[in-house]
């Protein structure tokens, strides 16, 4: 067997993004919103390491400050999805057959909305902006987490240790929390990490479409959408935000994969 090859590079990439976010709170090369019309579309120089955009704003500063919203939406929405998924999934798995069927049918219904369709529909209702993106993407994450929790609990429900717990009078809620939950944790963490990568991509997609974070705030997707207008004359503008986005998504996916190899596959054998 190969060693866990994807965990370390994944952690490195994630650490890179986290470091960028942390540094942005203490130090930014320039004011990310300061316009300098004399210095538009500048290529990298000593004062602007990644050049400037169509308003002469410093690209590096904007890329750095955008990491905050990416991580906020990524971690926030997946936390929402995990929490609600845990609740719904365990409710469905431990409930009677009627309620179980009802909850799972509703989740099936939500699963039928492909890709970012559900998120877009929710944005139409909630409106654009950072917090609404967190909510919309969070709801978008609920079905897959509910399914995961549901199937994991069903898997464990017939195991001997659950029967034992029940025989000495443990109640359903307590069984899930103190007995089944520790067993679910590895797979939940794995799914969490991969989902953060997906959520960051979804956030940038929404921002790219003009439905997420609004200007003049910075978001990688928004920066790419602005860069798109000038892509044929100033292609360099699209390089940095796209590369950082790729690093973030790849990092969380790799960590998810690495954790999967390390925690889940090994645990089940």
């Amino acid at each position: 067997m190969k060693k866990h090859s994807s965990l370390l590079p994944g952690l490195l990439l994630v650490a890179l993004i986290l470091a960028m976010c942390l540094i942005s709170f203490f130090w930014l090369p320039m004011d990310p919103n300061k316009m300098d019309t004399a210095n538009r579309f500048a290529l990298p120089t000593f004062s602007h390491w990644l050049g400037t955009d169509q308003f002469g704003r410093d690209v590096l500063s904007r890329v750095m400050i955008a990491s905050r919203s990416a991580l906020l939406v990524g971690l926030g929405s997946v936390s929402v999805g995990t929490a609600a998924g845990l609740l719904l999934g365990s409710l469905a798995a431990m409930a009677g057959p009627r309620l179980q069927a009802l909850i799972m049918r509703i989740i099936d219904g939500f699963m039928a909305f492909p890709g970012i369709l559900l998120a877009m529909m929710l944005v139409a209702v909630l409106g654009k902006g950072l917090i609404n993106s967190v909510i919309a993407i969070g709801i978008f994450m609920i079905p897959s987490f509910s399914r995961l929790v549901y199937s994991m609990i069903l898997e464990n429900k017939t195991r001997l240790y659950v029967k034992a717990a029940r025989s000495y009078g443990c109640r359903s809620g307590q069984i899930v929390i103190s007995h089944i939950f520790p067993d679910m944790l590895p797979r939940l963490i794995t799914q969490f990490s991969s989902a953060v990568g997906g959520a960051i991509l979804t956030e940038s997609s929404l921002s790219f479409l003009g439905l997420g974070i609004q200007p003049p705030s910075a978001s990688w997707g928004l920066m790419l959408s602005e860069a798109r207008q000038f892509v044929l004359s100033y292609p360099f503008l699209a390089v940095a935000p796209g590369a950082v986005l790729l690093v973030a998504a790849l990092g969380f996916n790799l960590v998810g994969d690495g954790l999967n190899d390390r925690l889940v596959k090994r645990g089940s054998r």
């Binding site: 190969k2 994807s6 049918r105 509703i106 099936d108 219904g109 939500f110 039928a112 909305f113 492909p114 890709g115 970012i116 369709l117 877009m120 529909m121 929710l122 944005v123 139409a124 209702v125 990568g197 991509l201 940038s204 997609s205 790219f208 479409l209 003009g210 439905l211 997707g221 790419l224 959408s225 860069a227 798109r228 892509v231 044929l232 292609p235 699209a238 935000p241 796209g242 986005l245 790729l246 998504a249 790849l250 996916n253 790799l254 994969d257």
Partner: protein
């Protein structure tokens, strides 16, 4: 087998019902008065009231839902207030673009991933296996809109192999039509390949480990013949389900690529309806896309049943 099919059909219909309910309820929460939106701020209270009554907005939501569903089933998808046109017409006008895009990218993705996945299963641990693993990771993480821009600069603006943006209908020449969809299809295909390569690889690996491969070897068949005759066929079945559901998901996920390449498809229409909060249009598109998803998944289920002799034989009476 009949029981299985009718069970699948029933669950497809149940999902469709839930989807229609979700769509209706969610979009009911959109703030603002649809009548006001249509008539504008200068409308008189009387005309607003009249429109509300004629749209059924004063009825309880269950009645509104029943009315809406009834209209849908009769083919009345409502009118877009933005375009002033029938929603169904608007969707059908844009269907060919999105449909072609989905079809071409899935064909590309399946051919590419089947090839790479099977080869990396045959040469497990070799450089090609490692390469396909890296490609898989990259394909899943690379943002489609970024890749779109890179390809646009490279292959359209610099090399002039393809047009930069825009769509040419097939009526104006098949070659121009294929050219206009080539870049977007390739980009979508790259995004879909990650999962598929992994799937074909593991499916082929498990086929190679089956008993029938061993018995083929024992009876003296050359390995190549055994792979071509048995393993390949067996490895093709498992991915069908995922290919089906991916095709369906892709159908609803073309909005970004349509935006980048300025293709007049359903995704663009969806974006407009979200931006302008054109509720009837949005409802129509969302339902149409989810209907396609459910339909695709149903067809895929049927294909799997048809391809799997074990399930077919169950119709002999001894159902499990």
């Amino acid at each position: 087998m009949f029981r299985l099919i009718s069970k699948r059909l029933f669950s497809a219909l149940a999902v469709m019902f839930v989807v229609s309910l979700i769509t209706f309820m969610v979009l009911k929460w959109i703030p603002g008065d649809p009548a006001q939106l249509i008539l504008g701020t200068e409308a008189t209270p009387e005309s607003l009231e009249a429109l509300r009554t004629s749209m059924g907005l004063n009825l309880p939501w269950t009645a509104q839902y029943a009315r809406w569903l009834g209209n849908l089933l009769q083919g009345d998808w409502g009118t877009s207030y933005l375009f002033g046109e029938n929603v169904r017409t608007l969707i059908l006008q844009r269907l060919p673009v999105t449909f072609s895009l989905t079809l071409f990218s899935m064909i590309l993705a399946v051919c590419f991933s089947a090839g790479l996945g099977i080869v990396s299963a045959l040469f497990q641990g070799s450089w090609i296996d490692r390469l396909s693993r890296s490609l898989m990771q990259l394909g899943a993480a690379i943002p489609a809109f970024w890749l779109g821009m890179i390809f646009m600069i490279l292959f359209a603006a610099q090399l002039h192999w393809f047009p930069v943006t825009g769509y040419t209908p097939p009526a104006e020449g098949i070659s121009a039509y294929l050219h206009s969809l080539a870049l977007p299809s390739i980009i979508l295909a790259i995004g879909e390949s990650g999962v598929l390569i992994r799937l074909f690889r593991s499916s082929m690996l498990s086929a190679l480990n089956q008993d029938f491969m061993q018995s083929a070897q024992i009876k003296g068949l050359p390995r190549t013949t055994a792979i071509l005759k048995y393993a390949l066929r067996s490895a093709m079945i498992a991915p069908i389900t995922v290919i089906g559901s991916q095709t369906a998901k892709l159908f609803g996920g073309t909005v970004i690529i349509e935006t980048i390449f300025a293709l007049p498809g359903i995704g663009r229409l969806l974006l407009t309806s979200v931006e302008q909060r054109d509720i009837q249009l949005l409802q129509g598109i969302v339902l149409f896309i989810t209907l396609m998803v459910v339909l695709f998944n149903f067809i895929t289920d049927m294909l799997v049943i048809a391809a799997n002799p074990l399930i077919r034989m169950e119709s002999g009476g001894n159902e499990v």
